[in-house]
Symmetry: C2
Subunit: 356 residues, 2 copies
């Protein structure tokens, strides 16, 4: 039995408000606890997005009522809200900026729209960037110019990890996270697909699954990677197998088993997991202590990943059938057994806002 | 009569080798002299591109034989030539990196391909980047990380000039140039078109003509702009009016008259022109003195721009019919009258390599 601290997932799409047929605060936090995660940081691109006082209230009210693990809520940077966000900063975990691939109220096409957020959002709260490839480089330049830290979400490419390495060596304040699916899958990994469904709908994820060279570069540069994050992005199987499959994978319940399996294969160490799923995210996002909180895993328990045994509402996993080694036995959160042997014991509303 | 120094155009497509039906060293340098320009810096994306010792020889041999004004030749960064370019640096004016929109041997898609050039090209020679918008920001980050100056070619957007301003204020070593067509035209400017030709073929240029807001931002931030450059990119009218019009405008003979017209309208000053077409490019590209060299312009002479009176081989101008005020009367290059009252007097071969 290995004892880990309560883990932190800095990148979770809870889907509430707006898309609770995929997930909500109740199911997302059950899924987190079952995955050994006692704090989730929720992304703001819900429907509506969390991007002003009223929408932040909606999210925090739902979380307060239904969350079973601790949580923080990101607010989203939009083209018109830079002036009003600083007043909301201390109720949120930080600011999320969608600099690539997002439409609607959080779209920030023109770099001049980035500037007021970099200038105005309080410097003691993190800026998290969805920014791929050259856009990521642009975001890091903004960090250098405005002399404030940025955290790059879900890097997946060799060029990204190598540029972050060079920027860190230069002293630029940049941190980053990698998702398990970008560590354990390539664009050529087969994913199960329903017969008659649109080809590769289940494989759709952003950033896309990358090449073997990209995956190898991530593993070779683990020291550059500050956090593991799931980018838990649940969609139903009906949606994934439709003509217009939305991008995203669930990931809360599979991250730790996959990483423990890598430990069993000597590709990773337990201290790596603690550093990247506890120490670093706690520091980067300035999270409070969780007293009497820990996770017990049986590092020798081998099993097969099955969506049917998961708590996420979406009902599938891209890792279906994968054989893993390392099972989460028990999660204690603030003195209370929150999960044990496949059952959730924390009640809806037990979770606390990390900025509460 | 105003006397100016011999002007420098740091961005010229001579089209030789490979496309001499559009232009060659003889006609390009006649066009330059008629425009008051006594030094042109030639871009390397010819056919073949200038990207190794053999191709550099081809370009320099043609230039030596036919250039009528002084010149420098850029070499082009490719995915495989970073190791061999340092040995060629002192025969070239600098390194041109195509980080956007170019195909073939000079394509540098992946940012990991930029790194060896930033690391290896001698630091006392300039790096010029074709890099728009976010790619430009990425290029500036590389300048910051590798602590060497970059010069951004033909900026056209508000977001670009404002980001360069911020980067300069931060102390990052970046300079930039703007083309007259991006100062005097917007995407809505009408361009004459032959009947039956593909709509807007003549308007094709990269970077594209921008919005009025972009143009206004360039004028409002003239202090940020280090150089005026023509990006003289001649194509024949047959090509421009074809189904697949290549992007590019000729510009050598129209730049100075257009800028002098702006002076007559009090939008610009003569010292601005001297700074951005002589002092700054001379410094950025480390160009030698041209003794006994000057340009005489009649600041009061009004005339109409006509392609039929130009020396460029391409046979058209996007400014056809524009009324300008300020005419180039005489150009003296190293003691010799090279151009006077519409006639070229410098002979083919009179021009010298600025790295000679």
């Amino acid at each position: 039995m290995i004892k880990l601290p309560g883990l932190i997932d800095p990148h979770v799409h809870v889907r509430e408000p707006g898309q609770t047929h995929k997930e909500d605060w109740d199911t997302a936090t059950q899924s987190a606890l079952a995955g050994g995660i006692t704090t989730i940081l929720a992304m703001p691109n819900t429907k509506p997005p969390i991007f002003d006082s009223a929408t932040l209230d909606i999210a925090l009210r739902a979380a307060k009522q239904n969350a079973r693990c601790d949580y923080g809520q990101f607010i989203g940077a939009g083209p018109h809200n830079a002036d009003l966000l600083p007043a909301l900063a201390n109720r949120a975990v930080g600011l999320k900026m969608y600099l690539d691939s997002t439409f609607g109220e959080l779209r920030l096409d023109d770099m001049t729209l980035w500037t007021p957020h970099f200038e105005k959002f309080p410097k003691n709260f993190p800026l998290v960037l969805h920014a791929e490839s050259r856009t990521m480089a642009a975001g890091i330049l903004f960090a250098a110019i405005y002399d404030r830290p940025v955290h790059i979400a879900h890097i997946s490419l060799r060029e990204e990890v190598l540029l972050i390495k060079a920027a860190k060596e230069k002293g630029i304040k940049v941190t980053c996270e990698v998702c398990p699916h970008h560590l354990f899958m390539t664009k050529d990994s087969p994913l199960p697909q329903e017969e008659g469904a649109r080809a590769n709908g289940r494989k759709e994820v952003r950033p896309r699954l990358a090449t073997k060279e990209d995956v190898d570069a991530l593993w070779q540069n683990l020291a550059v990677i500050d956090c593991f994050a799931t980018d838990h992005a649940p969609h139903t199987l009906t949606e994934k197998d439709s003509d217009n499959p939305p991008p995203g994978f669930p990931g809360l319940e599979t991250a730790l088993p996959l990483l423990l399996t890598a430990v069993s294969e000597s590709r990773l160490t337990i201290p790596d997991i603690i550093e990247k799923m506890f120490t670093n995210p706690k520091k980067i996002f300035n999270l409070p202590e969780q007293p009497e909180t820990y996770v017990e895993v049986d590092e020798n328990a081998a099993y097969e990943i099955k969506a049917s045994e998961q708590f996420t509402r979406c009902g599938w996993t891209p890792f279906e059938g994968w054989k893993v080694k390392g099972k989460i036995r028990k999660v204690v959160l603030r003195g209370k057994t929150a999960f044990e042997d496949g059952k959730i014991f924390a009640e809806a509303g037990y979770g606390r806002n990390i900025r509460g």
